[in-house]
């Protein structure tokens, strides 16, 4: 079934249709939450909350880019988690847990990539949430500037500025904690 039909049926409360959309986007939604929060259990919670909230709020989706709408909801769920951590700092930033990606070519490659993911995950946490979101969406998830502007509900100029400042800050942080960059 086409995505447009699934969206229409989901708006009418069809849970099976919505779950097909979940199947399509859950990996990307979860990875955004994981990189935003750098904590696997919290990322699972944020993903589940965001998807439930999306299903309940399907009536508010007025067409356009469904993926951007969904990612905006998960980004907001992550912001709520980060805010609650700021109030209770003892519970934040547990060890990053990464599960093997089924599409990884080899265990050696996976080990290297896992190490890289952990290091970058630590560095990303030090960025302000808006800059982190821009960097994750563009450099890790490969969205366009336009789509990121829809996720962030902001202008292209704001996206450019957040991405630029995020990368510059990330370069400083990684220079401190990692081997010199090539």
């Amino acid at each position: 079934m086409e995505e447009g039909d699934l969206i229409l049926r989901s708006k009418e409360g069809d849970l099976d249709a919505f779950n097909q959309l979940v199947e399509k986007y859950q990996r990307q939604v979860y990875n955004l939450a994981l990189r935003m929060l750098s904590n696997a259990p919290a990322a699972e919670d944020a993903t589940q909350e965001a998807l439930l909230s999306a299903f309940k709020g399907m009536g508010k989706f007025r067409g356009g880019n469904f993926r951007a709408w969904l990612l905006r909801i998960v980004a907001n769920a992550c912001r709520d988690h980060l805010r609650s951590w700021r109030r209770r700092p003892a519970t934040s930033l547990d060890a990053l847990v990464l599960e093997p990606d089924r599409h990884a070519p080899s265990p050696e490659d996976y080990a290297l990539r896992r190490e890289l993911g952990e290091e970058i995950g630590k560095a990303l946490v030090a960025l302000p949430a808006d800059q982190r979101l821009a960097v994750i969406l563009y450099d890790i998830q490969g969205l366009s500037y336009e789509e990121i502007a829809q996720v962030m509900n902001s202008s292209l100029g704001t996206v450019k500025s957040r991405l630029s400042r995020g990368r510059a800050r990330l370069r400083q942080i990684m220079a401190q904690y990692m081997e010199p960059l090539p």
Partner: protein, 164 residues
Amino acid sequence: MLSPYIDCQLTSSEQGLVEAHLERCDACQRELEALRGVVNLLHRVPIVSPRRSFALAEVVPKRRAAPVALLSAATGVAASLLAFFFVSDALNLFSSEVPVEEQLKEATPLAGPPPDMAGAGYEVVENWPFWQLEVSFSLLVVVLGAMTLIWWRRRKRGEKALKS
């Protein structure tokens, strides 16, 4: 300017300016290379498979919330009215005072003058059937309260079952 330059997001004139500057500025060249290094690393960050599916099992039916809200509101209104009747009854708000003399005259027109009853010459007569109202509204509050409790517990059980 370097970040959008890496992403080819500059206009051709802006791109020309950046390239002209880079040709004569070593610091900016180093900065550009370092930024490219960060971007290349970010591109290699693995996409992780979630440990479970996030498909929604079931959503709590919305229509169950309505009876509980309606019942608790009705219980509240009935309890408020009951309290109002009790207070009115205790303070004699809806009663009128009828002189005892008039009553006696009507009852025994030939009798002699009534004894001096200064300060006690009036009798309180209730215009509202308070006793009946209080009993029936007490029963109503008990019944509505019990129904609210039953619906609320049933909804809680449903939510717990969905979570498990």
